[in-house]
């Protein structure tokens, strides 16, 4: 009888102690109460993933709880986007998003809505595209390129990293605005198309600035324009699209951290403050810049407005160009 009592008492005490150590999560005061899931809708090693890991690493140190990267790749970000939109409303999930998710909403059927299903936390930065041509194309500005293409209808090829991607859509815009007849050659990923661009099989390509920069600096390719609202410090001679006379093409790629819509405002603000501090760190800025990203920061409201604007812009581009994924 004695033994039984002792055992029961001890186990009850243990249970009480365990419960005592883990109080019910009271969000704003003791956030975070468990590891945070950071969903990355792309495979490991890609741009989004690397940025997420850089930030996630620092965030876990500042928040005191591990930030676990969860790669949910596939369907050009749609799988990750859907997972994040349907994430449990326990305020411990965030997702990194980029232009691809915005484009996808208009180009194919997806099960998430960037504007309705998410509460943006912060804008991380923008990454401009550049219009690249091989040395074999004698155009030195976008206007010259358009004239050249008009004089040779159906002969110029433009590459892309896949149907419905930003490079494809930007080129379709150029086609519309410049009234030129250029032929689309889709590739899987940017690297293959750069090889064909170098060889002169493809005559123009919209590619992330960071991909083309070393080749331009080596004189193997020419950059005719930069999509973004300012010139790139690495290539100061290259005009922006607006300067070159094509303001509708000035749409940079963006990166942002979002939280599911049900996340309380207080937590969104806490996350915003923490990530903003991280974005101000010198080494983070340097690493992002090396990736080709222009780091910036924002309030949650600014991020929300930016993303909403972006979705509308791309929707119009896609409607005008008629590109659709079946």
């Amino acid at each position: 009888m004695n033994k039984k009592w002792t055992l029961s008492f001890m186990s009850l005490a243990l249970v009480a102690a365990v419960f005592g150590l883990y109080p019910d999560s009271a969000p704003a005061q003791t956030f975070p109460t468990k590891p945070i899931t950071f969903i990355v809708p792309f495979p490991p090693g890609t741009g989004n993933d690397v940025i997420a890991r850089i930030i996630g690493d620092k965030l876990s140190k500042s928040l005191g709880k591990p930030v676990v990267i969860d790669n949910k790749a596939g369907a050009a970000g749609a799988i990750g986007g859907e997972a994040a939109a349907k994430a449990p409303p326990d305020s411990h999930s965030i997702i990194i998003a980029s232009t691809t998710l915005s484009i996808n909403m208009s180009v194919s059927k997806v099960n998430y809505d960037l504007v309705k299903d998410f509460a943006p936390v912060i804008l991380l930065g923008t990454m401009p595209y550049s219009l690249l041509v091989p040395m074999s194309v004698p155009a030195k500005s976008i206007k010259e390129l358009v004239e050249l293409a008009r004089s040779k209808p159906g002969q110029f090829n433009f590459g892309s990293n896949g149907i419905g991607g930003a490079p494809h859509l930007l080129a379709e815009m150029l086609k519309l605005v410049g009234k030129i007849d250029i032929v689309h050659v889709p590739y899987k990923g940017t690297n293959e198309v750069v090889a064909d661009l170098l060889a002169g099989r493809v005559q123009l390509l919209f590619a992330p600035l960071v991909t083309g920069r070393p080749l331009v600096q080596d004189g193997k390719l020419r950059a005719l324009g930069v999509c973004g609202n300012k010139r790139s410090p690495a290539l100061p001679d290259v005009p922006t699209m607006a300067e070159a006379g094509y303001p509708t093409l000035d749409i940079p790629n963006w990166y942002a951290i979002l939280a599911p819509a049900a996340t309380p405002k207080a937590i969104v603000n806490t996350l915003n403050a923490e990530v903003a501090k991280i974005m101000a760190m010198g080494d983070v800025k340097e690493r992002l810049t090396n990736q080709g990203v222009d780091p910036r920061s924002s309030t949650p409201e600014e991020a929300a407005a930016y993303i909403k604007q972006d979705v509308t812009t791309w929707a119009k581009v896609i409607k005008d160009s008629g590109v659709q994924m079946k």
Binding site: P44, N290, Q291, K326
Partner: protein, 499 residues
């Protein structure tokens, strides 16, 4: 000579203690993940990237490179011992390597694989030193028409992977082609055979197919056959290859190295294509092709050398032009950029210590790996003596972990199991999975290049015959095909005559 100065510079960089340590670390991790089925160098490099932020760029790159070519060493171990390719490029090693293991000759198989890999690694390093920029320029001459013709050649070669009936091999290739169709078409954006399941939008993962067809199917089939139990517990005869083994394999090693070095440079090439090509070549020129699939050591020596050579030469376009030729190289490129280095011809000039340090580290890493792996062979081989009732569940568990680690997807696991059952049925029907795998890989690539070549030529089909490189390859394929069919025809005629 310039080369010596550069190599010397490279050595002074590599022999610094922390660089040596990171090289060893990378090589060991690489071997480990090569042995583990499923998880590959790409995922590992991505996961270990954050660890490299606090070390100098050279050290980081040395470690990451070590992971890549280390994984080529490790992949052969499980291929030989339990017929499960640890790396996609080790699939071919399963064919003869596992057969050798069943004959109690796992030790020599592993040893030859390690030695061939080392030789290939050394040669590839020298090639990089001597020829890097020229080769990269040459690779640019390969357009889609050339790639298509090369794949046709590869597909014809796939029929030589077949041990038995040619008809069945062709059927397997076609089945592989059909499976390869699943996914999103590059040229039109249409989703094929995805049935609305979002995981299928990007196609069936190669690892899923291979795990199921080779690994799980083999286990199921072994449980079916009583006698397999005995073979697994046969005492292993010896660990060191015999004189005859060495004599038979040295030429295969050289051929494999040459083939791998050439194919690794081409975008889309690398270790995988090299190993398949080497196997097909060895089988074609062997005096007795029927030995292949039953434990011909050339079938291990050639592909293993080829995949190591391919892995290392695939660094060339990335380092010299900034064009990565496969997924792992793309990651390395990203890693370089994070550290503030833009690859391209300027790297050789502006940061020679980094460039040559990386290249020499590959040689040092290869040396470390062969020293590591040879003694470990005894331990690996002893794994085979573990009673199968422990071994098989453990293997199945590792397979499942590997498949799940790809995309954190249960659907992948279900598909792998499905392929396991299919593979078992195929084994029962005496059809081989290897041609299926080749069809699965080559099919989509062939279609992509074919259509792209036609886009460039605006619908002109003659482009495949007017480009010289393309024409050469198509002719070679035609000749090979004829050589394959002709003996069969002659034999049939003899049979008729005898009657």
């Amino acid at each position: 000579m310039d080369i010596f100065n550069n190599m010397l510079l490279g050595f002074t960089v590599v022999l610094l203690p922390w660089n040596l340590f990171y090289c060893l670390f990378g090589a060991v991790i690489g071997t480990l993940i090569g042995v583990l089925p499923g998880i590959g160098p790409a995922a590992t490099i991505a996961l270990l990237l954050p660890f490299t932020f606090n070390v100098p760029p050279v050290t980081a790159l040395i470690m990451l490179a070590g992971i890549y070519y280390g994984s080529q060493y490790g992949g052969s171990t499980t291929s030989i011992l339990v017929n499960i390719p640890g790396e996609s490029s080790s699939v071919v090693t399963c064919l003869d390597g596992y057969a050798m293991a069943r004959q109690g000759r796992a030790g020599p198989a592993l040893a030859i694989a390690a030695m061939g890999s080392f030789f290939a690694g050394c040669v590839a390093t020298v090639i990089i030193c001597l020829l890097a920029p020229t080769l990269a320029e040459l690779a640019l001459k390969f357009g889609p028409a050339e790639y298509f013709s090369m794949m046709v050649l590869g597909l014809v070669g796939a029929t030589m992977l077949a041990r038995g009936s040619l008809l069945k091999a062709i059927a397997m290739i076609l089945l592989g082609l059909v499976l390869g169709l699943v996914g999103t078409d590059v040229n039109s954006g249409t989703r094929r055979f995805a049935f609305g399941i979002s995981t299928l939008f990007d196609g069936i993962d190669f690892v899923v197919v291979v795990m199921g067809l080779f690994g799980l199917a083999e286990i199921i089939s072994s449980l079916d056959h009583e006698m397999k139990k005995e073979i697994m517990t046969t005492k292993v005869s010896r660990l060191i290859p015999t004189r005859a083994d060495l004599k038979a394999s040295w030429k295969a090693v050289i051929r494999g190295t040459a083939l791998g070095s050439m194919l690794g440079i081409l975008p889309g090439g690398g270790a995988l294509l090299s190993s398949f090509a080497s196997y097909a070549l060895e089988k074609r020129i062997a005096s007795d092709p029927s030995r292949f699939g039953k434990g011909a050591i050339e079938g291990v020596a050639g592909p293993e050398s080829a995949n190591n050579a391919g892995a290392q030469t695939s660094f060339i376009p990335m380092l010299t032009l900034g064009i990565p030729t496969n997924g792992v190289m793309a990651l390395m490129l990203g890693a370089m950029m994070i550290h503030g280095i833009a690859p391209g011809p300027r790297v050789m000039v502006e940061k020679p210590d980094l460039f040559w340090g990386l290249i020499v580290s590959m040689w040092v890493g290869n040396l470390m790996l062969v020293i590591l792996n040879l003694p470990l062979i005894g331990i690996w081989v002893r794994l085979l003596t573990v009673p199968y009732r422990f071994l098989y569940p453990a293997i199945v568990m590792f397979c499942c972990i590997g498949v799940y680690s790809l995309n954190n997807s249960i659907i992948d696991l279900a598909m792998a199991t499905g392929f396991g059952i299919v593979g078992y049925l195929l084994l029962k029907l005496d059809c081989e999975p290897a041609p299926l795998v080749l069809g699965f890989i080559l099919g989509p690539m062939m279609e992509t290049y074919f259509r792209r070549a036609l886009v460039f030529s605006r619908g002109d089909f003659t482009v495949f015959f007017t480009q010289p490189i393309s024409l050469t390859m198509l002719l070679t394929a035609a000749i090979l095909l004829l050589m394959n069919i002709a003996p069969t025809v002659r034999r049939k005629r003899e049979e008729v005559f005898q009657e």
